[in-house]
């Protein structure tokens, strides 16, 4: 009986170890992102998100988790001012969205499918676009802007590729270019849309490491993902979404099998191994694997009070 999971995932650090030292205790006050009872209704009458609330402080990496159509992209759009909430309000670093955008506070890393990879721009051109908000009307780069671009490219390890047209890169390299653009932009808030799809393991590791550095520097990152397996690895906060916020808070408290079942309904595969199937002895702990056919999420420990522990 082999568990249908790669074994290294079993050894993932417990969520509790992700709490950044030095963060103030207590619930987040929303000094980074504050989504306050937001509802979004589109012109065609559909309400994509109803009464959603969550708060994130600086120095946070937060996962935004939900199935397709759960309103992840609508939440992003509301934060970026693409759609105006029909009720409620979004505040970024204490400011209304429009003001925050003017101050260049929000950086966005798009999904790969949303980018026209044939566009005639080089890697360095894309990263330079991150600096446009800091330049004058004519967008003529100053020496400082060039330096920031160089630095950002160095940091994601793409300096050697700066003269390539963006379509000539691999999936992971493409992702890193847009991450570099976010770095060059120096936004306090970084939104990442499915950053791990189509990305190799090395790049994923590099991205996670970079996000941790940014967290240490006080940035707020909101990561939309359906890659459940990696969430406890690097996210200290989680928002579970299904047309409203089902649960939000510290990963350890929110990212539980029950909540995930609620979020995903029947869309997840659920394996639970326990008792004799898992252990030779009378260990009561069981293994739960949740997967939506991407990376599986593994829970290992005492079964919950609903008492499914078999002997």
């Amino acid at each position: 009986m082999n568990a249908p999971v790669p074994t290294d995932r079993l050894a993932s650090p417990s969520p509790a170890s992700n709490v950044v030292p030095g963060t103030p205790a207590g619930p987040p006050r929303g000094d980074g992102i504050l989504v306050d009872r937001v509802s979004v209704t589109y012109p065609n009458g559909t309400t994509a998100v109803r009464d959603a609330s969550f708060a994130l402080d600086p120095g946070t990496i937060c996962a935004l988790v939900g199935i397709n159509g759960s309103g992840k992209s609508t939440v992003f759009k509301a934060i970026m001012g693409f759609v105006r909430p029909s009720a409620g309000a979004v505040r970024l670093c204490g400011m209304p969205v429009a003001q925050a955008l003017k101050r260049n506070i929000v950086a966005y890393v798009p999904q790969s499918e949303d980018v026209d990879w044939n566009f005639p721009v080089l890697v360095e051109d894309v990263v330079m676009m991150g600096r446009y908000g800091h330049m004058n009307m004519l967008r003529i780069p100053a020496r400082a802007d060039r330096a920031k671009v160089d630095e950002a490219l160095e940091r994601v390890g793409m300096a050697a590729f700066r003269k390539r047209q963006i379509g000539e890169l691999s999936g992971g390299q493409k992702k890193r270019v847009f991450l570099a653009r976010a770095l060059a932009q120096e936004g306090r808030i970084i939104l990442l849309d499915e950053p791990f799809t189509g990305v190799d393991v090395t790049t994923e590791g590099a991205i996670v490491a970079l996000l941790r550095e940014l967290r240490a520097a006080g940035h707020v990152m909101l990561v939309s993902t359906h890659d459940l397996g990696s969430v406890p690895d690097f996210c200290d906060q989680v928002v579970l979404l299904d047309r409203t916020v089902l649960a939000a808070g510290a990963t350890a408290e929110v990212f539980t099998p029950e909540n995930l079942q609620r979020t995903f309904g029947g869309a997840l595969r659920n394996f639970r191994l326990g008792g004799a199937a898992l252990h030779q002895d009378a260990d009561r702990r069981s293994l739960t694997v949740l997967t939506d056919d991407e990376r599986p999420l593994v829970f290992y420990g005492d079964p919950d009070s609903d008492g499914e522990g078999r002997t």
Binding site: R103, N104, A107, D116, P120, V121
Partner: protein, 311 residues
């Protein structure tokens, strides 16, 4: 020899030829600037549609003795509005909506012209007549081209970001909707100018072909614009000059030149031309990363199948 030279210089002896050449060059350059954006977004049908949709406005303006551009502007506005409403209220594909609206308006223009043949020359509208352009029209065209070039010179980078990555454009505080409106207003205005130079049916070439040719020659957007404008200016000036020897049909000559240059670039472009890619393929270097990956995947699958069949 002297005789030949003298003959080649004959067109410059005529005032109307000198005017036609410089006005064509101005219009060609301005349209080429816009073409860099239009062809990347797959909006060629828009260029064609605008060229046809303004015809009834031009016809009415001719009957009323109003300025050419004013009638065109009203008709263009009406066309955009009609397309928007039909698009919002039906499930029809966008291309069908655009096609429906512009052909209807064009037919209306023809009907008006057929009923008042003395006031409106349908030949002029459909085929252009730069050789007989009046001084007032030159002023109109020059103002349109001058304003368009000035605005584009200011905004070209902002528009590039907007069309490349709208979300990012918003995040750095650009007013995306305003920029798009500005772009399409300029496009409509340039369509009016192009209508006088090459006629309704060939407007699309002026706002698409130079950009597409430049796109085959470079991977950088700034250079793309430079090449495109150079092509637009030179083909229009040379075309107008040559049309002296070809009994008119200025529009036809200009567009034929542009198309020939496009075909030349298609064959001979150093990196993106057919010959270059054939050479690369012969050298085994033409394989893109995606192609390589696909090939490896197929080979791997074949290997597995071979193994399965073997025992």
């Amino acid at each position: 020899m002297d005789g030949l030279l003298a003959e080649l210089l004959v067109p410059f002896d005529y005032d109307y030829m000198r005017k036609a050449i410089w006005v064509s060059a101005l219009v060609g350059g301005t349209c080429a600037f816009l073409s860099a954006y239009l062809m990347l977004k797959g909006w060629s049908l828009m260029g064609d549609a605008l060229g046809h949709a303004i015809v009834p406005g031009v016809a009415v303006a001719a009957i009323l003795g109003a300025p050419f551009a004013a009638g065109a502007f009203v008709a263009g506005l009406f066309a955009s509005l009609a397309m928007y409403v039909v698009r919002q209220k039906t499930k029809l594909r966008e291309d069908a909506v655009i096609g429906l609206v512009f052909t209807s308006l064009f037919a209306l223009g023809l009907l008006i012209a057929s009923m008042r043949p003395t006031a409106v020359s349908i030949q002029t509208i459909v085929l252009g007549n730069i050789l007989a352009i009046s001084d007032e029209d030159i002023v109109q065209v020059a103002v349109i081209a001058g304003v368009s070039l000035a605005v584009m010179a200011l905004l070209w980078k902002d528009l590039m970001v907007t069309f490349f990555d709208e979300a990012h454009a918003r995040s750095i505080g650009l007013r995306v909707t305003t920029l798009k409106i500005v772009f399409f207003t300029l496009l409509s205005a340039c369509t009016v100018a192009a209508l006088q130079t090459v006629g309704a049916c060939l407007v699309i070439a002026m706002v698409v072909t130079p950009g597409a040719t430049a796109y085959l020659l470079t991977d950088r957007f700034g250079r793309l614009i430079g090449i495109s404008v150079a092509l637009g200016v030179s083909t229009s000036a040379v075309g107008a000059y040559l049309s002296y020897f070809l009994d008119g049909a200025t529009g036809g000559v200009i567009v034929t030149l542009q198309t020939l240059l496009f075909l030349a670039a298609f064959v001979f472009a150093p990196r993106h031309g057919v010959l270059a890619s054939r050479r690369r393929r012969a050298a085994g270097l033409g394989e893109t990363r995606e192609a390589a990956r696909a090939r490896e995947a197929i080979q791997a699958r074949e290997a597995i199948q071979a193994r399965e069949v073997a025992p």
